[in-house]
Amino acid sequence: MLEVMKGIFSKEDSTSKDLAKERLRLVLVHDRIGVSPELIDDMKEELIEVISKYLDIDEDGLEMDLDRNDNSVALIANIPVKSLNNR
């Protein structure tokens, strides 16, 4: 019953305008600083290369994106570490 209720509410929460707003927010972050998603991908590849030298990371779980808070833009990277390389 509770699950059903949750289902109803979460559906109501994500109306198509919320989707529009979220998509816009993301696309505008890139537009505003003139960085394309391709550039982010290139940067991601290189970062993986560098970090892999020191740590065993989960490449598929790596997330990297630009985020905007009020007036500042931040590059947020979430890099899951599997284990420390034995060196």
Binding site: A20, K21, V27, D31
Partner: protein, 262 residues
Amino acid sequence: MGKCIVITSGKGGVGKTTTSANLGTGLAKLGKRVVLIDADIGLRNLDVVLGLENRIVYDIVDVVEGNCRLEQALIKDKRYSSLCLLPAAQTRDKTAVNPDQMKELCEKLKKDFDYIVIDSPAGIEQGFKNAIAGADRALVVTTPEVSAVRDADRIIGMLEAEGLYDPELIINRVRIDMMNRGDMMNIEDMIEILAIKLLGVVPEDEKIVISTNKGEPVVLSDSSQSGEAFWNITRRLEGEEIPLISLEEGMLDRFKRIVGLR
């Protein structure tokens, strides 16, 4: 000295020309001396929206190139003698006028008019740069769609880069029923995203189509929601404090009350 306002949008088809015609006519209705400039060279349209297409002899390029005097190219409105139109050239392209020429033209017109309202072409190229060159104030028109909002954001950045700080927003073609259903971004969403001052909201209204068919700006009709919205925006331009018309907040509140408190 008059004030020079440019109406921009980035995306085409969001209502720049309609907004220009209505604000220009509205300011004339307030008793101001107004000249509307159609800066969309090659795609002349402001003349038909105002119903003045049969009176054009000279255009903005003729003035800039010295083929006629400025006064000869100004077309007097049918309804208000204090309203004039400087039409765009139809057979030339956007490079026929440069930013310096536009600035000079605006400075000249400021001596004889209270307001110069410039209808900018869509896009971010030379035509847009020419249109904003002489402006002191910029309005950005958008609709509640992702494509229009994205382009508006781009235009806001470009206006600021050109020294036109604090552009003001007009949200056009708003549908309250869709906003209430959550299927259209609402006013707060758009202000939050674009982070600029809101000048007004205009509802989607079939009267706009009818008024354009006739060549009579809707701001002159007493009984239309869009006309009322444009009239309110006109008065806000003049510095009057007018709350947003009931179509946004009234309807939303009523909706919330019915749904929320039951």
